[in-house]
């Protein structure tokens, strides 16, 4: 019931936020913050009562009883569609990340939304609800439903409150995700129909479909449907082109949620669905996926280097970083997968913070063009220092979360394919190049003394402190996170290797 409640609180909170606008323009944001924090506290309290958390049994992927939580009721029995939610270590991490970054996102757009605040916060909360659903749903029909639920409010956030070119960006985002989502729907339906044909049972449940017997040729095409949907979301090269536009045009909170959370649903989908449902096909496809990952790492970094728009640069850095996730997933060994999970969490924080800084700059300077910035450290030393922190985090400084992630991914990849690991390691150099260029062009260089700019205030510093602490803890003591995801990752690997009869 807990998992349903988590989602319902956000959905209802959104409705409340809409109506609270009548009480004043600054009420909805407080409502939204309260709702997210209540949700977070509710989750933490509930988690603290789960005894398994202490020992963290390895969940058997196909047996829901071994998971931390499992909830299932009939929904449309005729087709075997259930409201089935479940939580294991991986989804728990993602849910926690979602709620923390959700609060950050509300804070990030505290002052820059000038119209229809109520509807804005509602969209934000509904997106979060959709994301939570995606991370917890294990009925494929329900999963697809939530996949769409998180898309539509996001579309509105970009289309209504975005920047100058918002219509184009919103439409591009919508078409990319929608079209790829439809491919996934086709794959889901085909999977269910084939399963029905084999067993005579209608079911959309992940746990049942894991054991579906599919001919190799068919499995490959179905896997491709899932793969495209998730890689578009990730985004992986060459399906990434919606991202720079959407991130750049979205309002700050939108960018934070997009980069921090929404991209993770793609990675999560790959780990949870694409590979375990079709292990054999994924194994055959892995070399292609790995090359796409490497291409994303390098291509994203080069394009980031060429940008003059602050937000666009950060957006392309996301393409580069998420390339590491793709590498981690398809290297499919414990090191690389743990690295991928780590990257999902760490990238969530570091990029969300950079987008928040970009939003603050836009609010103060009314431009994102770095050619009009320079020397901002002088005007805003606190923001400068914080930007420096997140930039060195994003270029992978050891001691911060992103390093642990990239190191583990590359180490894992090195066991699988040395050449690819060497090429991907070039990402460390190109990453440094664009990150430092970003710092140089915006905060360093000749300052403009006439500029009167307000430095970060308490609210911003508090938000940033949360993310900085998170990254430092992830960087020097990542073991708790690794321990939470370890059983899941290990059991997924052993599950897929049983099916394929060998290691992937």
């Amino acid at each position: 019931m807990l998992m349903i409640n988590l989602i319902l609180i956000l959905l209802i909170g959104g409705v409340v936020a809409i109506f609270s606008e009548r009480l004043g323009a600054d009420v909805p944001r407080k409502v939204a913050l309260a709702v997210v924090i209540i949700d977070l506290i509710y989750l933490l309290i509930a988690l603290s009562t789960i005894p398994q958390l202490e020992t963290l049994q390895a969940p058997v992927p196909s047996d829901p009883e071994t998971w931390l939580m499992h909830y299932s009721v009939e929904w449309i029995p005729a087709f075997g569609i259930k409201i089935e939610l479940a939580l294991d270590g991986l989804s728990m991490l993602m849910v926690l990340l979602t709620l923390i970054l959700g609060a950050v996102a509300v804070s990030a757009s505290w002052t820059d939304i000038k119209v229809r605040q109520g509807f804005f916060e509602a969209n934000l909360l509904w997106t979060l609800a959709g994301v939570l659903g995606v991370f917890m749903a294990l009925d494929l029909f329900l999963f697809f439903l939530f996949w769409e639920v998180m898309l539509i409010p996001m579309y509105f956030m970009i289309a209504i409150w975005g920047h100058e070119n918002r219509g184009y960006a919103a439409m591009k985002f919508f078409i990319f995700t929608q079209a790829s989502g439809l491919l996934m729907l086709v794959s889901i339906l085909a999977l269910v129909v084939i399963h029905h044909g084999n067993t005579g049972v209608w079911t959309f449940s992940y746990f049942d479909l894991l054991s579906a017997q599919i001919a190799a040729q068919t499995a490959f095409w179905l896997m491709l449907g899932f793969f495209v949907a998730f890689v578009v979301k990730l985004p992986g090269f060459p399906f990434h082109t919606w991202l720079p536009d959407a991130h750049t045009q979205a309002p700050t909170a939108g960018s934070v949620i997009l980069a921090g959370i929404l991209l993770k649903t793609g990675a999560y989908g790959l780990i949870r669905f694409a590979v375990p449902l079709f292990p054999q096909a994924s194994m055959e496809f892995a070399p292609v996926a790995l090359w796409l990952g490497v291409a994303g790492v390098i291509y994203g970094a080069i394009l980031a280097f060429g940008q003059t728009d602050f937000k666009r640069l950060v957006a392309y850095s996301s393409v580069s970083h998420m390339g590491f996730v793709l590498l981690g997933v398809y290297a499919w060994n414990i090191l690389a997968l743990q690295g991928a999970v780590m990257q999902m969490v760490a990238h969530g924080f570091s990029t969300a913070a950079l987008f928040m800084i970009a939003g603050s700059l836009q609010e103060r300077l009314h431009t994102r063009d770095m050619r009009e910035m320079g020397g901002l450290w002088q005007n805003m030393p606190r923001m400068g220092a914080i930007a420096m922190f997140f930039i060195v985090a994003s270029l992978g400084l050891p001691g911060l979360g992103n390093f642990v992630a990239e190191f583990l991914v590359l180490l894992g990849l090195f066991q699988v394919d040395r050449l690819l690991a060497v090429i991907a390691a070039l990402g460390l150099i190109t990453g440094a190049a664009y990150s430092l260029l970003l710092m140089q062009r915006s905060f360093q260089g000749e300052p403009d003394e006439t500029r009167q700019l307000v430095d970060f205030g308490t609210r911003e510093m508090l938000t940033m402190a949360v993310m900085m602490t998170a990254l430092i803890v992830l960087g020097i003591y990542p073991q708790p996170i690794l321990d939470i995801s370890r059983p899941v990752v290990e059991s997924l690997i052993s599950f897929s290797s049983i099916v394929t009869g060998g290691s992937l």
């Binding site: 590359l410 460390l428 360093q444 020097i476």
Partner: protein
Amino acid sequence: MRELIGLIPLIPLLSSATLMLFAGHLSRFAIGLLGVGSVGIAAILTAKMGIDFLGNPEVFKVTLWTWMQVGTFSSDVAFYFDGLTLVMMSVITGVGFLIHLFSTEFMEEDVSYARYFAYLNMFVAAMLILVMADNLLLLYLGWEGVGVCSYLLVGFWYQNSANGYAARKAFIVTRIGDTLMALGLFLLFTELGTLDIQALGDAAKDKWQVGDSMPLIACLLILGGAVGKSAQLPLHTWLPDAMAGPTPVSALIHAATMVTAGVYLIARTHELYLFAPIAMIAVALVGLATSLMAAFTALTQHDIKRILAYSTISQIGYMFLALGVGAWTAGIFHLMTHAFFKALLFLGSGAIIHCLHHEHNIFKMGGLRTRMPVTFWSFMIGSAALAALPMTSGFFSKDQILLQAYQVDGIGPWLWFGGLVGALLTAVYSFRLVFVVFFGQVNTEPDKDTGWRMVIPLSLLCILAMMGGWIIIPVTQVFPLAVFEHPAHWVEYVSIAVPIVGVIIAYLIFLGGQLKVDVFTNSFVMQKLQQFWFSGWRIDWLYDQLLVRPYYGLARALKLEPVDNFYRLVVTISQTFNQWLSAGQSGQMRRYITSMVFGLIVLLAILVRAS
């Protein structure tokens, strides 16, 4: 006491964090006290550990917590303490403390006083972690940490874009080396199953044979990292530019400690290098080539800090030469003495720059012998040690390197001869500096005097630079004993004589004027050669053409997202179809009706015929 070893890096780190968080609330005195005091405490703790160790030379390891443990990979935050660690820690905290003290005066008028000490303390912490780490991953943390601190400090005066460029160059060039090193770590883990430095040595003994290709590749990758950090060929180009930072920073980071991290790394992993003789030769050749290249370049420079920068590159080349010929102890010994005399020279030049309103050009100085006597003697002693004149600290260490290089089978005498040429050039350029800056007529009057916070560090470093050669570094347990048979006496005599000859040449050319070289240097070939050397053998230009420009070009070419063209094509096709189809929608009812009627007639006709 041993458990407290963790405090040594922690105290500067905490001080750094405090300075960053509460910069606005601290007085300048408090900032200085925190900045200098934290390193001072670290130095005292190190001294205490050192005394204990010398009394009871027992190697130990302190594990603080498990950093990450994934599958079979595991890495702890753990510190390893042996004689080599002790030497490095002493240099870092000792010389570091003196440089911090010097900085309080040098940076006195800077608005970002707190930021400066925050960075500098963070550097000390990262450097300590680097040398204390018991596994290569933690070492890598320190390694990258010092890189970032170096970046921050080189670009400390960020208002000037040139400094920012130098800082970025320093970081990215060393990052190339770091990436090679990271690949080396991947390879070592994949091959040997651990990154623990001691365990690596044992595993290598089990799994590797001398001369295998795996140890060769791994050692070359590690050498790549060392070459980047220690500014050796071909990744040395960042160091001269890194002089954009405040001079005490150059003394601490770019002379005494960080740039020698590569030497430390190779010395630390020497057990692996023993399996790869070719890699050892590569180390020696890289070192020798770098030391000669940099020495020629130093001859032609006229920025005081760039001369010292190239001299640092050159001296680290000697250390690499030592490592390459298996003279580990001599290499580390030279690292230590170099830290003393090069820090002394940099601080001395800092004092000059400080008192001469930020003048860097040596030809605009001159005659400072009487104006700044303390600095003059610092420079005399520092240069004597750098030139390895007898009885100075540099003499003992460099002499050992040259003599051991001579011993190597086959190429030994050649290495020795190359080293001698370098030593000659070193003596010439270092005393050229002294004669031009301190003798002759006064070109710029100093407007300040050096205060006690400058004089004390200079004096102490003078003593170390003179007497440092008598220190016996406690590394006998760490390194295998070198089989050392004394070479023929003439070899030693020549080694001693060459620097003296160099000083005399410098005197005759730059001070006495007895040696007229104008005709020679003004000849066309020499002019060209001088320009070539002055530009650092045009290596910067080469990289610019080969790497930097193409990368910029690539970024510019791809900026507008070529992948999007494909999606734009899809859009264009849909739009074309849309145009065609929407032409049919005229909005005129009568047309619709007419077409409907004719359509129906056709359909009916078909139906009728079909039935």
